[in-house]
Symmetry: C2
Subunit: 201 residues, 2 copies
């Protein structure tokens, strides 16, 4: 019997995924919200689950190390649900050591296969995600540039970004100009849009 | 027997919702992608379904009339899945005449109850969404201001927005300044963030 924990921020879809996985009699399925305190402070001595199935969008958040919160729950036996449209999310999951990457557009059977594969400690990667994952490897911004873009995306003015990152305003403007050029954007708003839609920030 | 059509853009969650609804023997459930051609050009003579269950995020897109594409499929017997965080989506669904609004954080049983209620032609509104829906009524921007913000959000520079809306650059800047003030934003990027996260654009 494989114990599976489903983590998704929308209760309805969480229940739906649980029910879908329960169609396999060999899986014992529970679920929780990523906002639940259990996710932040899991017990480190006991492995309460064999495999976690996590919505890739839950891995986001500035500066968060992918799935660090979930690793204590299931080690690297993490199946991340993602889309090819967001290579940044895929990259974060992959670099964070998640063994499974399943396309959100896959069939129910593929998810079950992924869970069973990852439960054995083997890697499962949907082909549809491979190209996107390679693209995510080409994230052109440095951490500093990405930081500036992320803060700007929150609506912070240049002066505030400068203060928060301990930089001069000129340096912030410079980083922003470099970021705009690197991602091929037309302006600041366009750069933010590109970076966010790719899931890099 | 109530015929239900599930519309969600992620195949895996679509299958999961179908399976969840099939736990009620009185529901005959099928599904499709919102990108499917059937959604754009439904047959107007036949009602292929009694109730549609649609992910609220599928109703988005600049200038799209809510669920116009789905009305031919099921009339007003539309159940929209939404979150309180996006009052703009709720408002669009409500104004578009959708009878059902279900919180994405609701239980599976509530979704089934909603489908059965809407199938009888009655309204179903999750209490958790009521306040957010009222807030969505207070969308402070005019259509023109919203248009300017939406185009800016796509990364269009002022000159391009002016050309596309047949306005002068000064007028575009003026609309943008008004929008920033009205939504209580700190700057242009902040205004875009606020408008997008509320689901107004």
């Amino acid at each position: 019997m494989v114990r599976v924990l489903v983590i998704h921020d929308e209760g309805l879809l969480r229940s739906a995924l649980v029910q879908l996985l329960r169609s396999d009699d060999g899986l014992q399925v529970t679920s929780m919200s990523p906002r639940s305190p259990r996710a932040d402070a899991p017990k480190r001595d006991a492995r309460p689950t064999d495999v976690c199935v996590v919505d890739g969008d839950c891995l986001e958040g500035p500066g968060e190390v992918c799935g660090a919160r979930f690793r204590a729950l299931c080690g690297d036996r993490l199946v991340v649900l993602a889309t090819p449209e967001r290579p940044g999310v895929l990259r974060r999951a992959f670099d964070g050591g998640a063994l499974g990457l399943v396309d959100k557009d896959a069939s129910a059977q593929r998810l079950i296969t992924a869970v069973r594969t990852v439960a054995k400690g083997e890697r499962f990667l949907d082909e549809t995600l491979t190209v996107a994952l390679l693209k995510g490897a080409q994230m052109p911004l440095t951490t500093r540039e990405l930081c500036v873009v992320s803060l700007a995306a929150e609506g912070a003015p240049v002066a505030e970004i400068a203060a928060r990152l301990h930089l001069s305003r000129g340096t912030v403007r410079n980083y922003m100009a470099i970021a705009i050029r690197k991602v091929g954007a037309r302006n600041r708003v366009d750069a933010i849009r590109i970076v966010q839609s790719a899931g890099w920030a």
